[in-house]
């Protein structure tokens, strides 16, 4: 069984990403249906979350820094959906398999595009940590997918104004609306008519987050230390 193989060697190369596999104990004790938002919030308190320290992989400065920030998030998403498709949760139906495969392919396209666009400026492949996700549980997987997609939308929306080159802003815009489409789809798979949910303010404008806010949340799933200290400040 694939899952069993994943447990023994601590790491397995998955495309560009080195996936750290969930410890066995954790895997079995993880309660099904844990809302990922709660997991994300809890993770924020952990002291292994040090993305804002000045050590670690440097995202760089200026527009390339913001693009590397996007590249880091796309690496995380691509690795997540790669795992989701490789080890489908119990009861994944044909439509869901099709959607998960599509989204995986989109996130890979985003990742590979950003890598190509960044060229020599691109950061390294990041090591992810999915030990908090129960990939056999629909609730755990879709809850995490929702959290990642919503996070991605707030990340692109919140970083747009930091870009100096309109061409890069346009590229970010091309990606963020697809992330928003993903977010709406995942939310509808979980519960009908939650396509907006708690992601909009009283003006029905999508929320946004600063890079620091985003990396604090995403950091719970990224083992590699990320240094965002040289990113443009607002």
């Amino acid at each position: 069984m694939k899952q069993k193989q994943l447990v023994d060697p601590p790491y397995e190369k998955k495309g560009d990403i080195i996936v750290q596999n969930m410890p066995r104990r954790r895997f079995f004790t993880q309660a099904a249906g844990l809302a990922s938002i709660a997991a994300l919030a809890a993770a924020c308190d952990k002291d292994d979350n040090n993305n804002n320290m000045s050590s670690g992989v440097d995202l760089g400065s200026g527009d390339f820094g913001i693009l590397n920030y996007a590249y880091a998030l796309e690496q995380l998403e691509a690795a997540f959906y790669t795992q989701v498709v490789a080890t489908p949760y119990s009861g994944m139906n044909a439509a869901e398999t099709s959607f998960m495969t599509d989204i995986r392919n989109h996130e890979i396209a985003h990742r590979e595009f950003l890598k190509a666009a960044l060229g020599s400026k691109a950061i390294q492949a990041l090591e992810v940590d999915f030990s908090k996700i129960n990939f056999t549980s629909r609730d755990s997987v879709l809850g995490t997918a929702k959290a990642f997609e919503d996070l991605g939308v707030t990340a692109y929306d919140g970083a747009g104004y930091l870009l100096k080159d309109a061409n890069y802003l346009l590229l970010a815009g091309k990606i963020v609306s697809v992330e928003a489409r993903h977010a709406a789809l995942i939310r509808e798979l979980i519960s009908a008519n939650t396509f907006l949910g708690d992601q909009v303010d009283s003006n029905s404008v999508n929320l946004s987050r600063t890079p620091d806010e985003v990396l604090t949340i995403a950091g719970a799933y990224i083992k590699t230390k990320i240094n965002a200290s040289n990113l443009p400040k607002g």
Binding site: G15, T82, F99, D102, R104, N105, H106, I108, A109, H110, E112, F113, A116, A117, V153, Y156, D157, G158, G160, Y161, L163, K164, A166, N167, L169, L170, L171, G173, K174, I175, V176, S177, V178, E179, A180, R181, H182, A183, A184, L185, E188, A192, N193, F195, L196, Q199, V200, D201, S202, N203, S204, V205, N206, L207, S208, G234
Partner: protein, 281 residues
């Protein structure tokens, strides 16, 4: 109009609104937020002038222009759903609720943009007295067939996403206005995905996906232009990078994935030509 609401709305996009209005901002904030209704009623109608003075010299004309363009489209979108929710044969239950949610969302965009434009010292463009929701007879059953209604809704949402995207560059570096526009842009994309998903689940378009596959994937040739343009949805070239030459799973990234993964912009001229048959200008 509710003064408290206006100022609170402006504060959401401009945290310094009270400071702009009056350096003794704390006192003013307290006054507007906690003042009695009687006290508020006594305020002279000089609010517009105050806002003009606070913003008039700081918001570039180009920004106002983009906001007015957005409001022009939001007026139309809101009215489409407002009329549709009343007239179209939308099944009661979750579908009806979804359309009402989107209607209310568009209404909030209208109100928000009006507030922001007013706050920026300009007069918001007015809603048209009438629209032609059949687009000159292209969609004669828009409010009598649920399938037509949803199909037109999809086209309008996809086009709305493209419209915002096409003008984001004019808001470059504008923290408040760009972030707000991107936030509306994302919500339009959420609407688009939801409408597409409704079409799929209802069986009206059983294979359509929440994202745009290939190009015009609506099944309606009349809307080719909404998915075309100078940068068509079918492009696989992103800033010189050919996405289909990049590695995917089991080979290079497919054309379907490459087109789904990136939404494309429309220029203002393209959008205005597309919505002109609906009576939008």
């Amino acid at each position: 109009m509710n003064i408290i609401t206006i100022l609170e709305d402006i504060e959401k996009v401009d945290g310094e609104v009270y400071e702009r209005l009056n350096p003794r901002r704390k006192a003013m904030q307290q006054f507007f937020r906690f003042g009695s209704k009687a006290a508020l009623a006594a305020i002279p109608l000089g609010l517009g002038a105050m806002l003009n003075k606070a913003y008039g010299q700081t918001v570039p004309a180009g920004v106002i222009n983009v906001l007015q363009y957005a409001l022009t489209l939001e007026h139309f979108e809101y009215r489409f759903y407002e009329r549709g929710a009343t007239l179209a044969p939308i099944p009661a239950g979750a579908d009806k609720t979804a359309i009402e949610m989107i209607r209310d969302s568009e209404k909030k965009h209208v109100d928000f943009l009006k507030t922001v434009i007013t706050g920026a010292g300009a007069t918001p463009v007015a809603e048209k007295a009438t629209y032609d929701f059949t687009a000159g007879g292209t969609f004669p059953t828009v409010f009598t067939s649920y399938a037509t209604f949803l199909a037109v809704a999809q086209v309008l949402e996809d086009t709305g996403v493209r419209a915002y995207k096409g003008r984001a560059g004019e808001l470059l570096g504008q923290k408040v206005f760009l972030t707000a526009a991107l936030g509306i842009h994302a919500v339009e994309a959420r609407h688009a995905a939801k409408i597409r998903y409704m079409r799929r689940v209802s069986g009206q378009a059983a294979t359509i996906k929440p994202y745009i596959t290939g190009g015009n994937d609506t099944g309606i040739a009349a809307v080719n232009g909404n998915y075309g343009g100078a940068t068509p949805e079918s492009t696989v070239n992103q800033a010189g990078v050919i996405i289909t030459n990049l590695p995917g799973v089991g080979g290079n990234i497919s054309v379907d994935s490459a087109t789904e993964a990136f939404d494309e912009p429309l220029t203002a001229a393209e959008v205005l030509a597309l919505v002109a048959p609906f009576g939008v200008s």
